[in-house]
Amino acid sequence: MTGPRLLALQMRSDLTRFSRNPQSRYFTLLLPIVFLVIFAAIFKGNTLVNGRAVKLTTFYVPGIMALGIISATYVNLTVSVVARRESGELKRVRGTPLPAGFVIASRAAVGIIVAVVMCAVLMLIGRLAYGVPIPRGSMPGLVLAVVVGAASFCCLGFAISSFITETDAAAPLANLTVLPLYFISGVFIPESQIPRLLHDIANLFPIRHLAQALLISFTTAHGSGIRAGDLLIVAAWGAAGLLIASRTFQWSPRAG
């Protein structure tokens, strides 16, 4: 079987597994939608973004898109990679002629595909339920932010999976690293309400920069909506994750 066909076969299988996995269905697919609906129902009115008044729903659609991207890539990928490694599945696959890179690429591609689909669904709900316009003009910047964000958080997922030795610890640890950041990175709460110190802390991590890059696409009236500075920081985190993963990734079970 040729390379592209083999990769397609592996991706189809990984997508099937994603769609049948309860953790993926409820946490990755359903939870971001629930968050959007709840936040939109509780918080009404406007907030300030770069000195301009913006409807809170227009703030929450890109914010929850950032959460959806990170859930689909970083969290879901970490949980599945640790589970597959600890069950012996990765070791077994490593014993077949399937090139190792295909296992990695397929799993990352599935994360990116799911992230893109999640973003489309969240934007559609935002448009239909809350009248948040889909930013046609700045679509190139939005798509770039989604793809760079998804790819970078896949790399970070591969990196952290090397440091988690137990299957049961994967979901709690992955969530522990992102949940506090959602609160201070302008995902759950508008940045205008975040104290300076917490804002400065959030600024060190990639979640704020991804959320900013997405938000700007929804709030700029003109231009491509590309936030190069934010995307470069996100990509740098991704590159660091890839470097760590390439040096620490394990195919055999760590526990026992």
């Binding site: 592996q10 012996g88 070791k91 077994r92 014993g95 002629p97």
Partner: protein
């Protein structure tokens, strides 16, 4: 063209400063089933994982299908099949989906349906793997090892945790593999498994091969003294036996074992003694030491010297 499939010469492996494989040699020939036996911690798993290409070695020469597993590529992996010691199956896929996926990994796979039939999972074809019993999961594992139509199959404790009927079914599957001309490297804890399946047996203990041979000749089993065993009739003591028998007797529980190079003579004396007293010896047996007896003797940790 040599028909040696696995050749190991002076293999050594250390972890930190502990040497777990201390220079071992053996060969496996094409079409043969070699049972590789040894207690936990003897270096067995380390050796198998070096042969499978999962671990590197510190010394010695290893050739598996003519290549060094340490530097083996996808082409080499396509010629071997693996059943690892423990491997959970992807719970989200069905038997047919999983075997079909693995078929795609190999250049010349066996037919998917036929391979599922071979391991006896035809009725579970469309079942999710999470719904299979332990024995069925293990058989699925064997199907994945065979789907690439390998020349050499590693089976690492393939029947551990099976009930007796599942084990006998698995043995049939393995015997079928032999009929297909596969070379099989089998590790097991069960001596009856080695006896039933293996052409040759190699025993590793404390990092060294301590014996090698056919199951019937291992450790000089075929030349060993016979063992005459029976339960001491109630109300009788070992000391009441004729002195000639007492001298060669060992009592294990209620069972007397007489070790002898002349089983006919010993039986004659013993049965004469029993008939004179109107006794019968209901569980009287005569046999050579079992493979298990030989194995236990070979792998016994060295006791304190007298």
């Amino acid at each position: 063209m040599s028909d040696v499939v696995i050749r190991v010469r002076g293999l050594r492996k250390s972890y930190a400063d502990r040497e777990v494989v201390r220079g071992i040699d053996f060969e496996v020939r094409a079409g043969e089933i070699l049972a590789f036996l040894g207690p936990n911690g003897a270096g067995k798993t380390t050796t198998v994982e070096i042969l499978e290409g999962y671990r590197t070695r510190n010394g010695g020469e290893v050739r598996v299908l003519g290549e060094d597993p340490a530097g083996a590529d996808g082409h080499w992996r396509g010629r071997i099949g693996l059943v690892l010691q423990s491997c959970a199956m992807p719970p989200e896929l069905t038997v047919h989906e999983l075997v079909g996926l693995y078929a795609g990994y190999y250049p010349h796979p066996r037919p998917v349906g036929e391979t599922i039939d071979l391991v006896g999972l035809s009725d579970q074809r469309d079942a999710r793997t999470s719904g299979l019993s332990g024995g069925q999961q293990r058989r699925l594992d064997v199907a994945l090892a065979l789907i690439g139509d390998p020349e050499l199959v590693f089976l690492d404790e393939p029947t551990t945790g099976f009930d007796p009927s599942a084990r006998h079914h698995a043995w049939e599957v393995i015997a079928n593999l032999r009929a297909l001309g596969k070379t099989i490297f089998l590790t097991t804890h069960y001596m009856d498994e080695a006896q039933a399946l293996a052409d040759r047996v190699a025993v590793i203990a404390d990092g060294r091969i301590v014996a090698e041979g056919t199951p019937d000749t291992l450790g000089g089993r075929d030349h060993a003294a016979s063992d005459v065993a029976f339960t001491l009739p109630p109300g009788h003591r070992l000391g009441e036996l004729p002195a000639e028998l007492v001298a060669r007797a060992a009592l294990r529980g209620e069972v007397v074992h007489l070790t002898t190079g002349e089983p006919a003579r010993v039986l004659h004396v013993l049965t004469g003694w029993a008939l004179d007293r109107g006794l019968d010896l209901h569980d009287l047996t005569v046999g050579r030491p079992t493979l298990e007896d030989v194995y236990l003797r070979l792998t016994e940790p060295p006791g304190p010297s007298p």
